[in-house]
């Protein structure tokens, strides 16, 4: 078990390194003079030259990468000239907002998906199953911003229940905070529900054909009891894996949702930094996001092995 974790960590190191390299190259290798882009087309040649010198942009790229990596490992992700703030603290400050809507969204997704999948698996191809399936399908085909707009239209414009923009931090009161994140979280939750529902449903249907279900029924359990007590527990593993692996797409969703609802999270930071041509900030955000995805995947792998004893035997 420990060996498995160690092996995974060792496998992960080159990936993490690769992530930093790719993040750095994406921002620094693409055409266009960075200093010029940052200062705008009207900047004087002197100003551009000065900035280039200051940022060390005339050094060879691998040297710049190593400098950046070195400071990044000590927690310093650089200074954003455009926004006149240090990168790492800004990211850290915005993290909680993104985390909140992501976690709430996943919670909504799970709360809706689990009973839905149970109901669907109880009567496959019954009307509940078909209706939920159709709903899930439609949610997947709808881009998040469109879904968000629909929700705004329904709940913020028509029935004025929730605000359509703006964020209220927890410090200003729980109710206010929850109201301000309700629609964004619901936008994310709808898609999560769709994915979880599909996965859970197919996993449960697969498990239902296994022999132990027949044995449980023969013992006298009702269909519902058999499903709840045995099938659900075995299907949870697949669900946990999906929840964990969906972290990457969730960040994409957060980017859209934060822009749409004007929430001060990481996604919004990324978009505004791109608008402002703030290369240093973009670099920092991108590398933090990617590194988090890698670490979350590792955690999911480990949890997966912990939950599913069958894998443990192979893994030794």
């Amino acid at each position: 078990m420990i060996g498995f974790i160690l092996r995974r960590v060792v496998q992960l190191a080159p990936v993490l390194l690769g992530v930093t390299i790719l993040a750095f190259l994406l921002v620094n290798l693409l055409p266009g003079n960075m200093a010029l882009a940052m200062l705008g087309p009207d900047a004087s040649a002197d100003a551009v030259a000065h900035l280039t010198e200051q940022l060390g942009l005339n050094q060879p790229i691998w040297l710049r990468y190593l400098h950046w990596l070195g400071s990044a490992l000590t927690g310093n992700l650089g200074w954003s000239i455009v926004q006149a703030e240090p990168v790492a603290p800004t990211i850290l400050q915005r993290f909680p907002v993104t985390v909140e809507i992501i976690l709430l969204g996943q919670a909504i997704g799970v709360i809706l998906a689990v009973p839905g999948a149970v109901a669907a698996a109880m009567r496959p191809n019954g009307w509940i199953d078909r209706a939920l399936g159709l709903l899930a399908y439609s949610a997947i085909a709808t881009p998040r911003f469109l879904l968000g707009l629909l929700l705004i239209l329904g709940f913020a414009v028509y029935w004025q229940l929730f605000p359509s923009t703006g964020f209220q931090p927890l410090s200003a009161g729980l109710m206010g905070n929850l109201r301000s994140v309700a629609l964004p979280a619901a936008t994310i939750g709808a898609l999560e529900f769709a994915v979880y529902f599909q996965v859970l449903r197919s996993e449960m249907l697969r498990n239902l054909t296994e022999d132990y279900v027949l044995a449980a029924r023969a013992k006298g359990l009702s269909r519902l009891q058999a499903v709840l007590r045995h099938v659900l527990r075995n299907s949870i593993v697949a669900l946990v894996t999906i929840i964990g692996l969906g972290f990457g797409p969730l960040v994409s969703g957060a980017v859209i949702v934060e822009s749409l609802f004007s929430l001060p999270g990481i996604g919004d930071l990324l978009v505004t930094s791109i608008y402002n041509r703030d290369a240093v900030m973009v670099q920092g955000v991108v590398v933090v996001v990617a590194a988090t995805v890698v670490l979350v995947n590792l955690a999911v792998d480990v949890i997966h092995v912990l939950l599913d004893p069958r894998i443990r035997i192979d893994v030794g």
């Binding site: 060996g3 160690l6 092996r7 060792v10 030794g316």
Partner: protein, 352 residues
């Protein structure tokens, strides 16, 4: 006058060793090696049929593949028609190996489902190169006829339109196109219905008679091997434990493992209650090829094992003419229930 033993062997395997590396548990732990085939040697004459039997996992298929150099063995020699195949380059190997063909167990997976029968059968010729289009077509028709699948009806079909038995015939036809001297058949009738098995075995007999083919016939089914093969070699955990003429080995096995295998074959209407004599009962499970037992590998399941069996590995010795076994205490007399324990005890005393 030339004696039969002056003829060069068609196939001679010497000291063949095949091992595989397995991933380590921890990054710096010692490497784990799977000993699939350990020091196997045997000879096969032209036109002869040698059966290779043993439990699943004993290394028969790995041995066969190693003979084909796919992948080549870690150590040892494989002399086919006098030439050692080990270490040859791909082009050299293609030329040297032409007389040797391989037929797989699963009829469907050995035929590309997107190809038609004609293309499938023609593949060896096309890959070898040097044949004209008409030559290839003519030969394909010829071999399809040989296996009983007339070209006009079968050549343009795809594998999914054929039954399992027909697919195996296509695989055999494909193997015959380059006029091989040796056919390696790896469990080719396992998984087929008994009636289909019989048809295929008859085909093998016919081909052998008409074309003078030699076979290396791998099977876990002792009955099939007895029917078809002149000689038989018994494998256990990567080693050959007994070789000899098929009839002789079946009637009077020398190695306890062979005896146990034979006794395990269910027989109908024999009046036995099913209890096997003590010397023929297998106990325990197959040890892992990652860590084979010291000395005689069979000792952990052998009811006759002694300390010597753990200390010293028994070599393959001919206890009768052309009939050898790798055992310190081989069963040298006709095995009857009453006599065996006494004779075994006597032999133990003799050798002690």
């Amino acid at each position: 006058m030339r004696a039969a033993s002056d003829q060069p062997d068609l196939l001679e395997v010497r000291g063949l060793v095949q091992e595989f590396r397995r991933p380590r548990h921890l990054p710096f732990a010692p490497p784990r090696v799977l000993h699939a085939v350990s020091d196997v040697s045997f000879k096969l004459q032209a036109g002869e049929c040698l059966g290779l039997v043993g439990e699943t996992g004993c290394g028969k298929s790995t041995l066969a593949r190693a003979i084909m150099q796919a992948p080549p063995p870690v150590r040892g020699q494989v002399r086919f028609q006098g030439q050692d195949l080990v270490g040859l380059s791909r082009t050299e190997l293609r030329q040297a190996r032409r007389g040797m063909q391989y037929v797989f167990q699963d009829p469907y997976s050995s035929l590309d489902p997107t190809w038609r029968v004609r293309e499938l059968v023609a593949e060896p010729m096309r890959t070898a190169g040097g044949f004209g289009r008409q030559q290839v077509d003519a030969r394909v028709d010829e071999v399809l006829q040989l296996v009983g699948l007339p070209a006009d009806r079968y050549a343009s079909r795809r594998p999914r339109e054929l039954s399992g038995g027909q697919c195996q015939r296509v695989a055999v036809a494909r193997a015959l196109t380059l006029s091989p001297k040796l056919l390696i058949c790896d469990e080719v009738v396992s998984g087929l219905d008994v009636s289909v098995q019989a048809q295929l075995l008859n085909l093998f007999e016919t081909l052998r008679r008409d074309l003078g083919l030699a076979y290396l016939f791998i099977s876990h089914d002792l009955g099939v091997v007895r029917h078809l093969c002149d000689r038989v070699a018994v494998m256990y955990l990567g080693k050959v434990v007994e070789t000899g003429p098929a009839e002789r080995v079946y009637a009077h096995p020398q190695h306890p493992y062979t005896a146990a295998l034979l006794a395990a074959v269910p027989r109908i209407g024999n009046g036995r209650s099913g209890a096997r004599p003590a010397w023929a009962r297998l106990s325990g499970e197959l040890p892992s090829p990652l860590a084979p037992p010291s000395g005689c590998r069979f000792r952990t399941r052998c009811p006759r094992a002694t300390a010597r069996c753990a200390a010293e590995e028994p070599p393959l010795l001919a206890n009768e003419v052309d009939h050898a076994a790798a055992c310190h205490f081989p069963l040298l007399a006709p095995a009857t229930e009453a006599a065996a324990p006494k004779r075994a005890a006597a032999m133990v005393q003799d050798r002690a």
